[in-house]
Subunit: 281 residues, 2 copies
């Protein structure tokens, strides 16, 4: 059995992403936990084999809390997955019955147009899948919720309408982590650099040109940076840690040379992992 921990209730989008990543393998067991920290801790303490962690949504942007946990985690990243977020209106009534909708504020916000057009009152809840449980317990035809198709199936509450989000381009990127084997080899990523991605974290001196010097090295080695994210350092206000993803394998000679050069320009550098690059569509 492969045990994967995720944050949220059963039927959460995170659980869906885990199932997609492991190809709906029958040997997958998904473990729901209340917080991101508990998800990672369960893998650190070997209660689970893998953690799945949302790091960025294509509409809402980066998940700050996840990045802060990546900074301090001893786990390594061994994969990424892009999961399409498809919000459904779920409840026991018909479209004409519904006047109240429960869901996470982010899901409510992403379906604003639909809710306004249908003059529906909204009630914020802790998470999307949890709102299906609430609506089921209430058993009222006028009360529905917004969650995934998965959640509708798990709690056996029917979908009234699917595809109700304002913007159909709604994807979340997740990272998959496991205990660091010390070899930095991640999952099988034997392909050439354009098929691998490497994630690093670094902090730089608080002086002019410090970030530029790192980027200059990536440019000189012809490395394609796919993402840069800054997160505040907790101890010194307005100084940052940078999270960078780029195409390439850390064991490739060119990449490894670049990384050791970058290391000299940084106060701190950590390689989160090399893993196969996923396409989101």
């Amino acid at each position: 059995m492969i045990r994967v921990s995720f944050q949220g209730e059963r039927g959460a989008y995170s659980e869906g992403a885990a199932l997609v990543f492991f190809d709906n393998n029958e040997k997958i067991e998904t473990i729901p936990l209340p917080s991101f920290a508990e998800v990672l801790n369960s893998t650190i303490s070997k209660d689970t084999d893998y953690s799945i962690l949302p790091v960025e949504n294509s509409i809402e942007g980066s998940v700050g809390e996840s990045y802060d946990l990546l900074y301090s985690t001893p786990l390594m990243v061994i994969g990424e997955v892009y999961h399409k977020i498809e919000h459904c209106l779920i409840g026991s009534g018909d479209m004409t019955d519904v006047d109240t909708v429960y869901s996470h504020p982010q899901a409510l916000g992403q379906c604003r147009r639909f809710l306004q057009e249908n003059n529906i009152r909204t009630v914020p809840t802790y998470d999307t899948a949890g709102s299906v449980k609430i609506v089921k317990d209430m058993g009222k035809k006028n009360v529905a919720c917004i969650a995934s198709k998965n959640a509708s199936q798990i709690y056996a509450v029917p979908i009234i309408k699917s595809g109700i989000a304002d913007n159909p381009n709604n994807f979340t990127r997740f990272l998959v982590l496991r205990v660091n084997n010390g070899k930095g080899d991640g999952m099988k990523c034997d392909g050439n650099n354009s098929k691998c991605k490497t994630s690093i974290i670094f902090s730089i001196k608080h002086e002019q040109g410090a970030l530029y010097r790192v980027m200059e090295k990536m440019q000189r080695y012809g490395i394609n940076m796919t993402k840069i994210e800054s997160r505040p350092k907790k101890d010194t206000p307005w100084e940052y840690n940078f999270f960078v993803d780029f195409e390439g394998n850390q064991i490739d000679e060119k990449v490894s040379k670049m990384l050791s050069e970058i290391k000299q320009d940084t106060l701190f550098m950590k390689i989160l992992g090399t893993y196969p690059l996923a396409r989101y569509c």
Copy 2:
């Protein structure tokens, strides 16, 4: 009368920042509004003269919603202010009475250690100042809340204990905006470049080295970048708009030359404003 709109209830940290920015000028009238969008709209429609908008907290990081609004706003930035966030325990009882605390989840999170040490149950609310209203209405000695000193004074509920946050380095940076006069002159910022800050937004081609080329120009002109933030484009997943702050005045010859060079490398560029650089301590 100078009218300044802010998000939240009276006594919110945003209101405190507005009062600090305008030196507690007696002619200031602060207007509370429920959302960031309504705050900016009130200035666009000239119901208020200025908007104050939180853009970044030194612990939690950037406020994504604010950056998304800056992208589309016709307003210009005319100032910045760093405001210290000092969480206080507020209620009618003593420390020994309190077993339940109401506040915004972020404030509860920032006082986690204090709450755990005192074995206090937490109840999340919509905002910090609003939780003072709730606690006042309840009138129970065992129920307190976390909010600013300002909020304690406004609602006349005493401070039980101040300085209860885990990390004392808790600052929020706010921008002050007003209608664009078309001259790009902002507030008086006649000093040399090291006393001015300029904020720009740009998007770049989705190709290797595109961000590097912009940074290379800033480096070549000796410009000190103080902040870089990426926010997702809403229409194309995994493409970004970049928000950059740097020291310098847009009317300075060197800066203006650099900006026109950068413009050629970008798909879109907008100057949010030049304003006097504020120190946070």
